[in-house]
Amino acid sequence: MSRVLLLGPAREAAGVRSDEIDGETVAEVIAGAIRRYGTNFESIVAVSQLWVNGSPATPDQPVGPVDEVAVLPPISGG
């Protein structure tokens, strides 16, 4: 289980900004998130970056209860 942080369009599609989701890797946590939030969220994940604890991560990266998996869609600041 890990904390997930959902930002911008990912937050909107999920309906929540943070959550707790089961999984032993980034890919498993995100798969759980897609099951929970549905296809709109899935289409946003497809174009998003996945970070763990503030740094870019790979799908097979192991995560535990103290880790935070963030979903970052393309940005539009400034």
């Binding site: 942080l5 930002l7 911008g8 369009p9 937050r11 909107e12 970056q49 503030g54 870019p56 963030a70 970052l72 869609p73 393309p74 940005i75 539009s76 600041g77 400034g78």
Partner: protein, 154 residues
């Protein structure tokens, strides 16, 4: 906003940006050049011309850390910089209000211009931030979004 004593000043905050306060803070007798960039909310985007306000959303901690990375990269490229502020507002920003302000003070203008331009370009490419365009009867995420890149890759 409370000014940092040091010569870097990063803030991600819902407060209105006080450009004049940042310019005053950056200006110092050993510098001959202060360059300021204000990115202001405009009525027109790639898809609409009736925007009435913008809404910016982020995770403040992530955004601050990435903005500090931009500042560090600018200082590494232009060690002459004496003062550097990057402030990004979040939440609602009305038309013509600044959403982001960059201020660079340096002994000479070349470095001040180059560093200010680098900082705003890098903020837009590297700092997690999402802009929603609001018009009279609706709103949508900006269609001008870009994949996040690392400042070291710029």
């Amino acid at each position: 906003m409370q000014a940092e004593r040091s010569s870097d000043w990063v803030a991600i905050s819902p407060s209105a940006l006080a450009t004049d306060e940042l310019v005053t803070w950056a200006t110092r007798p050993e510098c001959g050049a202060v360059v300021t960039f204000c990115g202001t909310a405009r009525s027109t985007s790639a898809t609409r011309d009736d925007i009435v306000e913008l809404e910016y959303e982020t995770d403040v901690e992530l955004a601050e850390r990435r903005t500090l990375d931009v500042v560090a990269a600018a200082r590494a490229r232009w060690p002459e910089i004496q003062a550097l502020a990057v402030h990004h507002r979040i939440g609602t920003v009305h038309l013509a209000e600044p959403a982001v302000v960059v201020v660079v003070a340096a002994p000479h203008r070349h470095e001040a211009f180059e560093a200010a331009r680098f900082c705003i370009d890098a903020v837009k490419r590297t700092v997690p931030m999402w802009k929603r365009e609001v018009w009279p009867d609706g709103s949508a995420w900006s269609g001008e979004a870009m994949d996040i890149v690392d400042v070291d890759d710029l």
